[in-house]
């Protein structure tokens, strides 16, 4: 069985800098949720950017539905059905909520379909429906977060890549955010989640991938990852030798 997305031996880095991701491989099946965890600087975000086309991989290839998408422009990749939610809130702060959602449906050629998707998003996030005319940047953090995830439902991608959704959020919001992610996963969209908050992240996912220094450290079903002693060592160092 061919997987939906397969990342084969990808190496990537920024500018003239060193390789951040080394020879990394990963595959994702339809409706599967995988969580990538690992300490700072492990190359998790870089990997997602390489998949989304923001960063061109230095070597290796990325195959999506049997098509090689390595090196395509970000907007082309997105139109194929891979949606990327970057770390910083990817909303347009000076557009209204309605405009933000229309932008999300930008790539949908069938306007009726777009309308119905937007309608559906409002049903899922009623708060947004009440605030159509509000400038997105002036909403509360939680509402902005809803907008981010409403986008996923509008676009209805096949895969959604989420980069550190809980970063810089208040605890209550973290909870809300992970609920959104669960909603997305339950609607049949495959998810790759990169998360610092390993516990939350793994709870949401079926499978855990642990990265360290740009390489795959180990991967196993999510509930087993936390029990692995290697994880603890990665984060807090080995016991002092002396």
């Amino acid at each position: 069985m061919t997987s939906l997305l397969s990342i084969r031996n990808v190496t990537a880095g920024y500018g003239y800098g060193p390789d951040i991701v080394h020879d990394f491989s990963l595959s994702l099946n339809e409706s599967e949720v995988k969580c990538i965890i690992g300490p700072n600087g492990a190359g998790k975000s870089t990997l997602l950017k390489a998949v989304a086309g923001i960063l061109k991989p230095r070597s290796g290839e990325i195959i999506f539905e049997g098509e090689n998408i390595t090196g395509k422009e970000a907007y082309q990749i997105m139109r194929l059905g891979i949606c990327f939610l970057p770390q910083e809130r990817a909303i347009f702060p000076n557009l209204t909520v309605a405009e933000n959602l229309r932008m999300c449906a930008y790539s949908i050629k069938d306007k009726e379909l777009a309308e119905s998707r937007i309608e559906a998003a409002f049903e899922m996030f009623p708060v947004l429906g009440e605030r159509l005319k509000q400038i997105a940047g002036t909403m509360s953090g939680g509402q902005q977060q809803q907008l981010v995830y409403a986008r996923a439902f509008t676009i209805k991608p096949k895969i959604i890549l989420i980069d550190e959704p809980s970063l810089g959020l208040a605890p209550a919001l973290v909870e809300q955010t992970f609920n959104h992610i669960k909603q997305i996963a339950s609607s049949g969209i495959a998810v790759i989640l990169v998360e610092q908050n390993a516990i939350k992240g793994l709870q949401t996912s079926g499978y855990g991938v642990v990265m360290d220094l740009g390489r795959l450290a180990f991967e196993k079903p999510a509930n087993e990852v936390l029990q692995d002693q290697r994880l603890r060592e990665l984060y807090l160092g080995k016991a002092i030798k002396k």
Binding site: Y75, M78, F92
Partner: protein, 289 residues
């Protein structure tokens, strides 16, 4: 009474200035290019109108679309030849400013060589007419160009506000990466925005052709004036630019009428200098750091 009169004159001019500056601010907003070549593009537009007027007797107001189209094509050409290389950069660099400066010199030199640096104006019948309301008069040339400018600005605003592509332009100017992530072809948006900006310059040129006299090297002076308007309004903000244009041209008219016309342009230069120093973001701009 006189005060009111001066303000009316200032406002009429203000709308023309607003149109002159709207393209500049759009290009800056989307591409972060401080386009010093904008004023010379306006003059190019004025030349198109001028020739249509001289050769075919076409009213400059009717030649607005032609001027807009011609300058837009010129803009696309410039963009492809010169700016595309740098357009991908999110941060605007000094080199781009110098590039536009060089472009301005090239067009200036070429126009001056082909058509000479003589002052020109188109003179349709209404250029020397005015309507009188009591003692107050409104010169028709200024009135017409002001109204048409206003219409064009409104059309632009509506386009940016409601059309799919307009929203994409605004989205791109706010967050390039995000725009790309929702499927916007950013390069294409940049090209089109540049063309629209140039079209605005062209249409402004057609309207300016019967309000001001123009000659190719006039644009050096306009550079500072237009910059003062965008900077006051906050770089990249259309509303800001319109407000900036109205405010400054009214002040400048007041200075001209009650102090001395010799000093009226000083208003723009001083405003530009002071705003850049005190509030580099402009009065209406949002701090982005």
């Amino acid at each position: 009474m006189e005060f009111l009169q001066v303000i009316i004159l200032g406002l009429c001019l203000g709308f023309v200035y607003a149109l002159m500056v709207s393209g500049l601010t759009l290009i800056f907003g989307v591409m972060r290019i401080v386009n010093l070549a904008h004023p010379i593009l306006i003059i190019s537009g004025a030349f198109v109108s001028y020739w249509l007027f001289i050769k075919l007797g076409l009213d400059p107001i009717l030649s607005v679309p032609a001027a807009a189209l011609a300058v837009a094509l010129l803009g696309v050409l410039l963009y492809k030849l010169i700016f595309e290389k740098n357009a991908a950069q999110q941060t605007y660099s000094e080199m781009t400013v110098l590039l536009t400066f060089g472009t301005a010199m090239v067009i200036d030199g070429l126009l001056a060589f082909l058509f000479h640096n003589t002052q020109r104006t188109t003179s349709p019948g209404y250029a020397t007419d005015a309507i009188f309301i009591g003692d107050i008069f409104i010169p028709l040339a200024q009135l017409y160009s002001g109204i048409i400018s206003l219409v064009i600005i409104i059309v632009l605003a509506v386009f940016l506000k409601y059309s799919e592509f307009g929203i994409a332009i605004r989205a791109t100017s706010q967050n390039r990466t995000s725009a790309e992530l929702v499927g916007v072809n950013v390069k294409f948006v940049c090209l089109i925005s540049f063309a629209i900006g140039c079209a605005l310059a062209g249409s402004a040129g057609a309207l300016v052709s019967f309000v001001f006299s123009f000659f190719p090297s006039r644009h050096w002076e306009w550079i500072a004036i237009l910059m003062s308007l965008v900077v006051l309004g906050g770089m990249g903000s259309l509303t800001g630019a319109v407000v900036g244009a109205l405010v400054l041209s009214v002040i400048s008219s007041l200075v001209g009428a009650f102090y001395s016309p010799a000093w009226s342009t000083m208003v723009f230069f001083l405003a530009l200098f002071l705003i850049l120093i005190i509030r580099p973001m402009g009065l209406f701009g949002v701090r982005t750091d």
